[in-house]
């Protein structure tokens, strides 16, 4: 069997058949789809797909919607995405019946980079930002690395159900109302894990990044552990052609769809 690390796949447009819908995190759902040949083995954590969230015949809503790959089943060559019904596109997607063919473009974007010497990964998830970190956890466990997966939510219902993560993962949770795990923000827990972790990986809403960054800057030694973040930008082409999705970094403007969505926290110019 080929190792995931080396394999890559060019983006392509394909029809993914919706196989299953699992409601999670209150109003959200994990959707399982069929994939083109070789897909499950070739994609990596951090990559995403760009889905047409409407009947093909309409022009509205016009643009595709990006969704992170949440997990893959290499044996059955299927993948999942985690969708929160936010606006028109996501609400449409989440309400399609099993069997619907979704016009999908991908895999797109770069991947989280786990350094050769890393053994302990700290993953910090907020909301649907949980998705790409699930795949990262799967990959790390497959490589025999240790993973602490931290997630925060308003209450227990808002958390990713534990069965979605590999058993080997240490699942650390925090809720605003204390209904599960520690009471408070997930980023409050990060401090104590920073010494343990070789690398940190995060995905979530902007405020989470801001407080994560504060905690990290206050607690870490030099630049260790390094932190990679997956950022969300409005996208149009998904292929690096329109320059609509850039993130300002110390090395200039970087497209989020090709040179991202994963960035080194220290390279990003935070506004």
């Amino acid at each position: 069997m080929q190792s995931a690390a080396g394999a890559t796949m060019r983006p392509r447009e394909f029809l993914a058949e919706l196989l299953a819908i699992e409601p999670v995190m209150g109003d959200s759902a994990i959707l399982t789809f069929t994939a083109p040949e070789g897909f499950a083995k070739a994609v990596g954590a951090g990559q995403f797909l760009d889905s047409l969230c409407r009947p093909e015949s309409a022009h509205d809503p016009l643009l595709r919607r990006p969704y992170s790959i949440c997990s893959v089943d290499r044996a059955r060559n299927t993948f999942t995405i985690l969708v929160r019904p936010y606006g028109r596109g996501s609400a449409w997607l989440i309400n399609q019946p099993v069997g619907t063919l979704i016009d999908t473009l991908g895999p797109l974007g770069n991947r989280f980079e786990v350094q050769p010497k890393t053994n302990r990964l700290l993953l910090v998830a907020g909301g649907v930002g949980a998705a790409p970190l699930v795949l990262l956890a799967e990959e790390a466990v497959r490589r025999g690395q240790s993973v602490a997966y931290m997630m925060g939510a308003q209450n227990a219902e808002g958390l990713l159900p534990a069965h979605v993560l590999p058993e080997e993962v240490e699942y650390v949770v925090a809720t605003d109302d204390g209904s599960a795990g520690a009471k408070g923000f997930v980023t409050d827990l990060v401090g104590e894990y920073l010494r343990w972790a070789d690398q940190v990986f995060a995905c979530g809403p902007e405020p989470m990044f801001r407080s994560l960054r504060r905690v990290v800057l206050a607690n870490r030694i030099g630049n260790a552990p390094p932190v990679q973040v997956s950022l969300e930008r409005t996208m149009a082409c998904g292929l690096g052609a329109c320059l609509g999705c850039v993130v300002e970094t110390k090395h200039g403007m970087r497209t989020s769809c090709v040179q991202g969505p994963v960035y080194d926290m220290d390279e990003v110019i935070w506004s």
Binding site: H59, L62, A241, C242, L243
Partner: protein, 333 residues
């Protein structure tokens, strides 16, 4: 209906009055700013099959572009305010023409500037660049010398830019008009007269959208360019009007997302088309259009694409006597 035994002829010469020519194998082009520098889409389509593609807009100096967000979706359309992020003409020349030199597909360079001299300077640098098949002059830019008034809104200023570019290069020169112009026909005639080999239209309309939760404009730049299917009726109207008034080839642009849309532009008078926003939705659309246009011609017994061009005009409609029915279209309510 005539018998079309051979495959229909879909070639287009976009610069019939220029010895350097700009012959496209087919009329399907990728629009500026929506196709990067040709390489981005090369990973998923066969770029070499295109009639041509137009590069992102190049400026005299490098530009970092606008702050984010740069894009917002609107009904059947989108707004963009990229702010012409590009490496500047010199950075551009080092990087892309050397690659294009080995490509079959004609690469056209879109240029933007805020002074007539700067347009001319870029045209001069492009003149002998290997791998550059033509120049598309984006005149939807503010003219600094005229207090920021848009070149493309004024026939005289549009002609000035065209003349300067024409004098600076022997390459085919396409002038891309601004739909903001009051007198689009006057602008088109002025740039034709000033030496344009072809005319592209339209560029984006100016629009804006507000985030009602944050109560502020969605785009960091406040306003942006409106593109996509929403603007197609405006684009078809302008192509129809301009086609009745000029002889140079017209490239129709604006919301093209299907064969039917492309046919509308040919019938209105476009010799070729460019696809922008629809690429973001359907990355395979350019390839599909090439095939579908050829199949349409064959199925309708047309030997040449040219037989379609301008067919919606009165001269081709038995029941209409006027030479042209393009009045100064005002309110219709």
């Amino acid at each position: 209906m005539s018998e079309a035994l051979a495959a229909p002829d879909t070639t287009v010469d976009l610069a019939p009055r220029n010895p350097r020519e700009l012959v496209l194998r087919n009329p399907v082009m990728a629009a500026s700013g929506c196709f990067g520098y040709g390489q981005e889409y090369a990973q998923i389509i066969d770029v070499q099959r295109l009639g041509a593609f137009v590069s992102k807009g190049i400026t005299p100096k490098p530009r970092a572009g606008n702050a984010m967000p740069r894009i917002a979706e609107t009904p059947a359309g989108m707004l963009n305010a990229i702010g012409l992020q590009n490496p500047g003409i010199r950075g551009f020349l080092k990087k892309y023409p050397p690659i294009w030199q080995h490509w079959q597909v004609p690469a056209i360079v879109n240029i933007s500037a805020e002074a007539v001299d700067d347009y001319a300077m870029m045209a001069r640098l492009l003149d002998e660049a290997p791998g550059v098949a033509g120049i598309e002059v984006n005149i939807s830019c503010p003219n600094i010398a005229a207090g920021g008034y848009c070149f493309g809104w004024d026939p005289e200023m549009s002609a000035d830019v065209t003349r300067a570019v024409r004098a600076a290069t022997t390459l085919p020169v396409i002038v891309k008009l601004s739909p903001g112009a009051l007198d689009i026909i006057g602008v088109a005639q002025a740039v034709e007269e000033a030496g344009a080999d072809a005319i592209s239209l339209i560029n984006t309309l100016v629009g804006m959208t507000i985030d009602t939760r944050t109560r502020r404009p969605v785009l960091a730049n406040v306003t942006g360019g409106l593109s996509g299917p929403a603007i197609r009726p405006v684009a078809v109207r302008m192509v129809y009007q301009v086609a009745a008034a000029v002889k140079v080839p017209i490239i129709g642009i604006g919301g093209i997302a299907s064969l039917n849309d492309a046919l509308e532009f040919f019938l209105a008078g476009a010799s070729a088309i460019q696809v922008g926003t629809a690429l973001f939705v359907q990355p395979g659309i350019l390839m599909r259009l090439i095939d579908e246009i050829e199949a349409y011609l064959a199925a309708n017994g047309l030997n040449q694409l040219g037989e379609l061009v301008g067919r919606a005009h009165p001269a081709h409609r038995a029941d209409v006597t006027a030479d042209s029915d393009v009045a100064l279209a005002v309110a219709e309510g």
